[in-house]
Amino acid sequence: MKKENSRRTFFKNISLATFSALALSGCDMKALKEFLQQNFRTLSKKEKDDIVKNLQVQYKETYGKEFHVSIEPAMEGVLFGYALDLSRCIGCRKCVYACVGENNQSRDPQIHWIQVLEMEKDKGIDLAHSNVHYNPDKVPEKGKSYFPVACQQCRNPQCTTVCPVKATWQEPDGIVVVDYNWCIGCRYCMAACPYGARHFNWGEPKVPSDEINTEMHYLGNRPRMKGVVEKCTFCIQRVRVGKYPSCVEICPVGARKFGNLLDPESEIRYILENKRVFVLKQELNTQPKFYYFFGI
């Protein structure tokens, strides 16, 4: 018997195979739609609204709560900046856990967007010998200083330029965000970031439903999937509606300052104009919008 090797049979078989593979994988239309979803920046308003609506339903099914997923765009004339007074930080790590709660970071496997580094005071800022696992009974300890590090929200962010699929970019208000649906998990950005500010979901992220923050932003604190990278967004879900980031609000010593760099009346501008500030790893020309200073 002669074997049919025509192009026609090839196409017939391949389409049959695709359909049967789809049917066998138990993939419903919703998941298929999500899989075929385009990069967030190329979506129309209607498409974004549909996606958000679906997400809210999906999250409600998973966590049994009402969710609000925002797609609030950047405000005009706003460029966010942050300043941290190192002379005040006492290393209590309240910011770390406020951030975890606000931004729905996975509890297990554990992800912390903020790392507080403990250093020997007499050695100055010595990142190489800093300790993130310090655990004394009381802080601050004598002879120690503390140095919190999170995303520096660079003006020249190398994490975005290395992304092969453009799943991460800088928004007009200066916040570097990730489209978790578009991220392929290659972790190039993590290698490119000189601040260790990006974190990878090695496992299925777990957030208890009674602790989940239901106020979300699509580009911020919505639940992430396994295999995607996440990072600090200055609490995009808060700052785009005028609120302060949650680390600013929790800090018991008022070491954290936040505001609009384009507003000459803002406290962040006052700090830049009246205090001596520095940025971390200035020599790399990443041009952070996160400034450190010594207030006293």
Binding site: C92, V96, K138, V139, P140, V239, P252, K257, E267, Y270
Partner: protein, 193 residues
Amino acid sequence: MKDKHYRRILFQLPFVALLLFLLCYCNQGGKKEPTNSPEQSDSVSTKQSALSAENAIELPPFTDGIFPCSECHADLVPNPTKRDLVDMHDDISAMFDHDKENRWCTDCHDLQYRDSLKLASGKLLDFKESYKLCGQCHGEKLRDWKVGVHGKRTGFWNGKKEYLLCVHCHNPHTPKFKQLTPEPPPIRQEDIN
């Protein structure tokens, strides 16, 4: 002839209207400045008063039942002598650590008007304005606090802010910050199973 005259008027009418409109517009333009300036001065005054609005957040953190001071002090004869207090306010006397060598109660609390604080000048001050008292010595801190650099602001970065008084964070009788128990450290990689 009459008809022609009438037509000419009709023809000129739009020009007259345009002229009138322009005149009105210029007049308005001229008027604009004086009407604008009170608005401007308004915005300046709201900016200045914004600080006092921001200050008015919570009441000073009094110990329960301690205020008004006059409730007890009305019947007491004022004694201005510096001494260790026993019976009442002995707790404050014991913890007092705010330039102890040179200071005493009546440097900040008024001896006569018990429900008031007092500046070095003798001027009486409400407890809600205690930051002015602190600012007498800590002028640099007061300056930073007023612009939101010292202390903590909550609320909106582009709108209404809430501000804490100095005494919400610093106990005025012993202002140095006490140590805190830190939150748990991140899990070590080697501890992950």
